[in-house]
Assembly symmetry: C2
């Protein structure tokens, strides 16, 4: 077996970065020459976690075929979310917690997916199955991913397994989940030196709904008014993105990670679908979405339904 | 959760049938209302195993949507090998040891694949992970699948994990692996009352190679001459299948399960690709393939290379 590179999805979040690190550590212990790499720079939340536990960020790669032909994927499987030259590589293993699509191999492989809230919850099981101890710094990074993906257990994607895994990892990492978790999440909400487009692009995905093209971005904050103070600038940038990229409707979900509510900011048409989906009335293009924190589970389904 | 049906691939072999039974047993113990079903009648080898351990064959289904919408797949994932209405169903879980292709879900799921020789080797791990005891009859069926897929550990697809699993299961089932295994394999080699087409169709797959369409069938026997005594009849049926179905080349691999050699019987063109692939000279359209028992690992790759 040649050297194996391990990486998470493009626009990496904390789970994508740290699951590459934790799974590469496990593979090394199992005798595989593996290295964690990343398909993009770490965000500020991830940088906080890496710094806290004294671990270097994985190096960023554009393509992989120039280094090796064998890879393992974490926190994703779909080709369009993966490295540019994925079609030329052999995928030896996948550990993931998403749906499976646009994924095909020529040979049998190791594939481990479970419908839990975080890839690192599954990787913790793999450590236990192989009876390999997790060092405190790796455990801290794995815990950080669970906190990130579950917004400190408040997301509806969080399962009892994720909570139990976080508690187990916190004991190894010797950190208090609530205080560390809040500091880490806050580190990811430093939005002041970001342009409007950076806020819109940081975590945005496109969805075809009916015959419309809907763009849904999300930003986390500890004070929604901080973001809304830039409403005019954001609306202008959303309108320009709509025109430039053919989006019909742009929905920015501004999530308060402290009280687990969100405000939707809307540009484009048909805006009434947002009102219908969430049973709200838009006021100055905004509406409070009580208890909404998950795009995957709480925004896309009702909006799809409305269309 | 509504009732869940669990099944292996079309033209089921012993692993497809028994992994549905063993995984359904495990799911029942985990509190899921699950039933093993089959996408075709059991073959004679599987019937021998079921009879030996006193377990009824799963009922055969043509479609599933009329009964339930939720399924779990074992020993396959590709849509064309699955139930006819798979696209209308939700796949909750997959346990498999093949490549992944033509498989897509809308939601996150449980997916467990490992590059081992038999699905039941993986299912044994799942029993242990959940700390659920395996009854003797289920253990016997799981052992039968490993013996079948590995041709009593002689196939190159067999891994040390498969051998260890078989030994563990044999201890629970209280059978001698060699004597039971040989009797079971022999039960699958009763070819005398089969038509030529039944022999050709029992375990056949099509492969595009270069610009040709190659059909490769395989039959197991304890005496290759038994099968070759029907060579003229077989060649006629192969030529007719080639003409009727647009195959260019038909390769029948007749495998002696006792000495782990095969004889290739060839109809159609270009026959010289067979000579090239296996470095043999055809004599009366046949050639001995020393040590060849696995279509997946020992026939398809060199033949693909030759084309």
């Amino acid at each position: 077996m040649s050297k194996v590179l391990i990486f998470g999805h493009q626009n990496p979040d904390t789970d994508a970065i740290t699951s590459a690190i934790s799974f590469a550590y496990l593979q090394n212990k199992l005798g595989v020459e593996a290295e964690a790499v990343a398909l993009g720079d770490v965000n500020e939340e991830t940088a906080y976690a890496l710094n806290h536990f004294g671990v270097k960020a994985p190096r960023v790669v554009e393509t992989i075929g120039n280094e090796t032909k064998q890879v393992m994927l974490v926190d994703h499987n779909e080709a369009q979310q993966s490295v540019a030259d994925i079609k030329d590589l052999e995928v030896l293993a996948v550990v993931d917690h998403h749906r499976i699509a646009n994924f095909e191999t020529a040979n049998p492989l190791y594939y481990r997916a479970e419908p839990v809230g975080c890839t690192n919850t599954i990787i913790l099981k793999l450590f236990k199955e192989h009876q390999i101890d997790i060092p405190a710094d790796i455990a801290g990074l794995m815990l950080s991913a669970i906190i990130s993906d579950s917004l400190l257990f408040k997301s509806p994607t969080c399962t009892p397994e994720d909570v139990a895994a976080a508690e187990e990892l916190a004991a190894i990492a010797k950190v208090d989940i609530q205080s560390y978790g809040l500091e880490m999440l806050k580190a990811g909400t430093n939005l002041t030196d970001k342009t409007a487009d950076e806020l819109l692009d940081a975590d945005a995905k496109s969805f075809p709904m009916g015959d419309k093209n809907v763009r849904i971005g999300q930003v986390n904050t500890v004070d929604i008014n901080d973001v809304l103070s830039r409403q005019a600038e954001l609306e202008e940038a959303m309108a320009k993105q709509n025109a430039d990229n053919g989006y019909d409707l742009f929905l920015l979900i501004i999530t308060n990670i402290l009280d687990s509510d969100s405000v939707a900011l809307v540009a484009g048409e048909p805006k009434e679908k947002v009102e219908e989906a969430f049973q709200v009335t838009l006021d100055n293009n905004t509406a409070l979405l009580k208890g909404v924190v998950s795009r995957k589970k709480q925004v896309v389904p009702p909006l799809t339904e409305a269309f």
